[in-house]
């Protein structure tokens, strides 16, 4: 009957949300203990990571199973879409905090530090800087690996769209190939970024402690890299589902949600390339 046809699908009780909250509690507790010199925190964090991984498999698994059982029609689909859109909106604001920090430091506080010669005589207040008491370092050049990485991420945006066309036209090979290519490009990007970090730490004297340049550089690119990692994992899950034949031209929010996320991460990178590396 018909609850499915006329009513909104309200899922049964589920153990996963509370388990996830519990896992996050143990993770936070372990982390707080660890950074305060209590090595027991490490074991808390490992246990929590295992629990969170289990929950993610279980929770997403049950949602996928419900979808395959035909529980989600247009009405429910719209909830997922709005939900994902607003989640990405909150992520935009998270990055905005760090970009705002970069602009504030570059345009307001560092120049003012240079103007007030009383405390730090001789400090020029120009960007890039590791501050008046900072260490010497070489800033990251834009037109080497970063430019290549821009090209890689832009290509991955094309390949994920190409995969979407394959889905809409029911060409599974194109869908699977496009997704695999996107994931490969994402991994390539992360590989280059890892190489770049290594280069920065070992040869450029550029690390987290390299004043505000180092702090904004690593925090912005680091959180971006984390999002690429999450996106690549999501795309891998979607690739698995595509191989199993889960998606139809009418019902493929799982694919679209992660594709939106991937495009969002792409746009963040463009901003990073312009404001962190280039200008």
């Amino acid at each position: 009957m018909s609850e499915i046809e006329q009513g909104y699908y309200v899922p049964d009780s589920s153990p996963y949300p509370a388990l996830l909250a519990g896992g996050m509690f143990v993770l936070a507790l372990g982390f707080a203990l660890q950074i305060n010199g209590e090595p027991v925190g490490r074991w808390f964090m490992i246990a929590a990571a295992a629990l969170i991984g289990f929950v993610l498999f279980g929770w997403f698994g049950s949602v996928i199973a419900e979808n395959q059982a035909g529980r989600f029609l247009q009405w429910e689909d719209r909830s997922f879409r709005w939900g994902m859109a607003w989640f990405i909106g909150s992520e935009v604001m998270f990055f905005a905090a760090f970009f705002g920090t970069l602009f504030y430091l570059r345009n307001i506080s560092v120049p003012e530090l240079g103007e007030t010669q009383l405390v730090w005589p001789g400090y020029r207040g120009t960007w890039p800087t590791s501050g008046p008491a900072g260490q010497p370092f070489t800033p990251m050049a834009a037109w080497g690996i970063p430019a290549l990485n821009t090209l890689i991420l832009l290509s991955s945006a094309v390949s994920v769209t190409w995969a979407h066309w394959g889905l809409l036209k029911q060409r599974r090979a194109q869908l699977v190939g496009g997704l695999a290519l996107t994931i490969a490009l994402g991994c390539l990007f992360l590989g280059f970024q890892a190489y770049e970090y290594h280069h920065a730490y070992t040869e450029l004297g550029l690390n987290l402690g390299a004043g505000v340049y180092g702090a904004t550089f690593f925090m912005l690119t680091g959180f971006h890299g984390l999002h690429v990692t999450i996106g690549a994992i999501g795309l891998a899950a979607v690739l698995g589902r595509a191989i199993k034949g889960h998606f139809t031209p009418e019902n493929h929010f799982g694919f679209e949600g992660i594709a939106w996320y991937w495009h969002f991460v792409d746009v963040v990178w463009l901003m990073l390339f312009v404001f962190v590396y280039w200008l």
Binding site: W82, G83, T101
Partner: protein, 536 residues
Amino acid sequence: MEIQTMTTAELALHGSHHAPPKGLMRWLTTTNHKDIGTMYLVFSLVMFFIGGIMILLVRAELFQPGMQIMRPELFNQLIGVHALVMIFMALMPAATGFANWMIPLMIGAPDMALPRLNNWSFWLLPPAAALLLMPFALALFGVGSGAIATGWTFYAPLSVQDGMGLDFAILAIHLLGVSSVMGSINIIVTIFNLRAPGMTFMKLPLFAWGWLITAFMLVAAIPVLAGAVTMLLTDRHFGTHFFNAGGGGDPILFQHLFWFFGHPEVYIVLFPVWGMTPHILSAFARKPVYGYRAQVYAFWVIGVLSVAVWGHHIMTSGMSTGALLYFMYSTMSISLPLSVLFFCWIATLWRGAMTFEAPMLFALGMIVLFGIGGLTGLVLADAAADAQYHHSYFVVAHFHYTLFAGGIMGIMAGVYFWLPKMTGHMIDETLAKWHFWLTAVAFNVTFLPQFFLGLAGMPRRIPDYALQFTEFNMVSSIGAFILGAAQLLFLTVVVKCIRGGPPAPAKVWDGAEGLEWTVPSPPPHHTFQTRPVVGQ
């Protein structure tokens, strides 16, 4: 036949769902908006008392000059944790609890749009509370030096130097932030997608409107706070220099980031109350809500302005004259849409056939006392005057008139208004009226003297003070203890109403309008599985 003895609601339940688990597992695993709303409200009540006991210890210490009952370190911890508990764990969860309970009933939705996410949002709160409070206990075992000791604003550089309690607070903030953002997304999606046919946006009950704008503000502001405390964490433990001038950073940057979140937070706490106020006024004045459209537009204007006025919290930290003027005028301009709300509330009452049951008393008390909070806010918004009042007890009095009188008394109006709907029992009106009068009087005894203390120059966040401030501090402390004791009456009324009392009809109050009054009291576990249609 067993099946014939089942009610329709149970039949519907049986047809599509497994039997829900019993006992603790029911609450841990529930996806039901009423269960989750109840958990939010109970959690909020518990944290309200925990935060209250903390501040009574503080007021006991402040009863006389000199140090009597605690070390200054503990005093510093108690004031900051009191604020974090009251704002993030009492006020916000109470508002979210009502959102969970009432929004689906008001808009004719079968539940919240994302029920499992809803449960996750709630269950992140007890871990956050545990993280925030745990350092008190850890210190007893010789681990760390107690909870966060910087006040709730954790300004750098003090917060960069504080002990491990600050790390616990940062991680608690992260959990609370995830909870708030997920809860907000759920509310936005529910209102966008699950309204009954015919429930257009301009027929949306004002409580839902207030919450919708609240949710927008949360999605915009909370991630910025998350970013700010993350930078604080890396400054503390991973060698970054965001807030350290030696590395080119700036401690004032933290204040900007914090208040970009912190000012919208004020409206985040108050909008749900401003949303429920017209429902209550209209019910007890037996008149339709005056100026519905004007109130919706006022919500929008305040919501948009809220992210553009944060500088008035840090006017004395140093900023250009242009910035001072901008923040002064933009802050003062908020009083225009706010006056629209006040005007509409009063016009709703105008020539109404008013009766003064407990919810109405609390709503009226909220309007009058929050009005004082708003007007003193105008004084503080003046950049020249603020140079005098900043960081004084005037500020403490001001924000308690907004957050206690505007926030908590408003929430209490909502509790008395909707509790009969939730439990199916009427409240003990006599006790509730006692609760109101004791609260209203004791509140003023507590906080009115603090205006004078601030004007006379007493700084806030100080465990000891000059002799000249003694009398007003004594009065304030006596008021605080009466205020605290009066809340035991609140607890009594709530517990009595849950356990029994005269049965409440579907339409608990004669003058109340809206879909939520068409379902029985208490409503069945699942409501509106077939969608109601909203006509003219």
